[in-house]
């Protein structure tokens, strides 16, 4: 039943509408000045939060397939990965534009000066090759094995994103939210590590 829905021709357009909704809502609120007293910060953080959430969702697909047998979910994994990259791009661009005013020398200084921005930027750059090879022809050209190996860098990206978020909150000693994302990301990675150890 669920499988039938997942394979329905409308499933992908609906998925992308859902994926676009948070960004559309943030931009709409930005233009209508309802993002609160510090709209730039709200927009940058909102996009960052959604990047992390989508990253978790992407990593959830494979375990979910295993647990439920909904193998049609596999069609969604790359879509979620691309959406994560797009949100990460918007997050970085919002930072560069709204926080740094597209002042490139200041931006370079800022990225170098602030470890959490350096790590965040590195995580975003590491997503570039994954996004660039996210279409079928790239898989064929690379060969499935090499493609798989390349896309395993997503685990490192997830850890970098988590560290980025941890450092954002660390200065204010505020770890409640970080702990939630940390448990999710580490849980998903631990699940894979266990499977790899038992040779599954």
């Amino acid at each position: 039943m669920i499988q039938r829905w997942l394979l329905h021709p409308a499933a992908k357009p609906v998925l992308w509408l859902l994926l676009a909704a948070p960004a559309a809502s943030l931009v709409w609120r930005g233009f209508h000045d309802t993002l609160g007293p510090n709209p730039a910060e709200a927009l940058i953080r909102g996009l960052g939060d959604w990047t992390l959430r989508l990253l978790c969702l992407t990593l959830l697909i494979t375990p979910l397939r295993r647990w439920t047998g909904w193998h049609a979910l596999a069609r969604w994994r790359r879509n979620l990965g691309v959406a994560t990259f797009l949100y990460g791009t918007l997050h970085w661009l919002a930072y560069a534009w709204l926080d740094q005013g597209l002042d490139w020398p200041a931006l370079v200084h800022d990225v170098a000066k602030r470890p959490f921005i350096l790590v965040g930027t590195a995580a975003w750059l590491a997503m570039l090759p994954l996004a660039a090879t996210s279409f079928n022809a790239a898989i064929r050209a690379m060969g499935g094995r090499r493609w798989q190996d390349l896309h395993k860098t997503v685990y490192g990206i997830a850890l970098a994103a988590l560290l980025h978020f941890f450092w954002v909150k660390a200065g204010k000693n505020d770890f409640a939210e970080v702990a939630v994302y940390g448990l999710v990301v580490l849980g998903l990675l631990a699940w894979r590590w266990r499977r790899w150890r038992i040779g599954d």
């Binding site: 510090n38 927009l43 000693n173």
Partner: protein
């Protein structure tokens, strides 16, 4: 609260005050939660009457003041101060109060009084944020005695012509316009005059990031971000360039002499 305009030098900046709505809905007051919208939603539970402030330590006349005593202790003045948060945003707030020095003179500090320590209210029944281990409660802050006695150091009991809103530190707080906002302790219950430099809550939590002085200084960056610029809440919109941060938040003419000869990179 009725108040006359302050005649203290530098007490009335010409910047446009931040809207009441913004300055009551964008607050760092961790006793009510770490999100800036938390204090505006949750501070209602704070009981601000009856309220007393105890002044003790190296003083001739230790005393506990009721909030009504404090409101009558000296003529209330309106002062329009810039507020610069260490996080890189700023506001302009029309406070009501009088110089802290007027209160401290009442208790007659002794020759041993070198520093002043401020202690904020910490009542878990009224302050939901105290359940989190973000800081060692109660919140503590400190100043050198000469900083505390400076005429710009304000004991604030109101803003925008009314009693302090709870999320802004009711019923009584200090305001240090040339220091990052966290130095201005809210909802005070105790003021101690001491011989040793007190350790403030943020210094205890992260000494490499939050020093004892914490003067606004565009040339000394926070370890994780630049302090050269700031975003003025409500004024610098989504696409506005951030504005340059001023040395001592623009109060250098009034307070610069307090720090003459000090290495401000070392004493951040």
């Amino acid at each position: 609260l009725s108040a006359g305009r302050s005649s203290v030098a530098g007490a009335l900046v010409m910047d446009k005050p931040t809207s009441y709505d913004d300055l009551t809905h964008y607050n760092n007051f961790y006793e009510f939660g770490t999100d800036k919208s938390d204090p505006g939603r949750l501070a209602d539970s704070l009981q601000t009457r009856p309220w007393t402030v105890t002044i003790e330590g190296a003083v001739q006349k230790p005393r506990t003041f009721g909030i009504d005593d404090l409101l009558k202790l000296a003529p209330l003045e309106e002062r329009i101060y810039r507020l610069r948060c260490v996080e890189g945003w700023s506001m302009v707030i029309p406070w009501i109060g009088y110089s802290l020095s007027q209160l401290l003179r009442q208790v007659e500090p002794t020759g041993n009084a070198k520093y002043v320590e401020f202690v904020s209210q910490a009542n878990p029944a009224q302050m939901p944020g105290l359940r989190s281990g973000v800081l060692d409660w109660p919140y503590r802050e400190g100043l050198r005695l000469d900083e505390a006695m400076h005429p710009l150091t304000l004991l604030a009991m109101g803003l925008y012509g009314e009693a302090l809103p709870k999320q802004n530190g009711a019923p009584v707080r200090v305001v240090l316009p040339w220091k990052y906002g966290f130095k201005s302790a809210k909802s005070l219950v105790k003021i101690r005059l001491v011989e040793q430099q007190p350790v403030s809550s943020w210094t205890r939590a992260a000494p490499q990031e939050y020093g004892f002085f914490s003067n606004v200084n565009p040339h000394v960056d926070h370890p994780r971000w630049s302090q050269a610029t700031e975003r003025r809440i409500g004024e610098d919109g989504l696409f506005a360039r951030k504005r340059p941060t001023l040395m001592f938040n623009g109060y250098e003419a009034q307070v610069g002499s307090l720090y003459a000869g000090m290495d401000l990179k070392k004493y951040y």
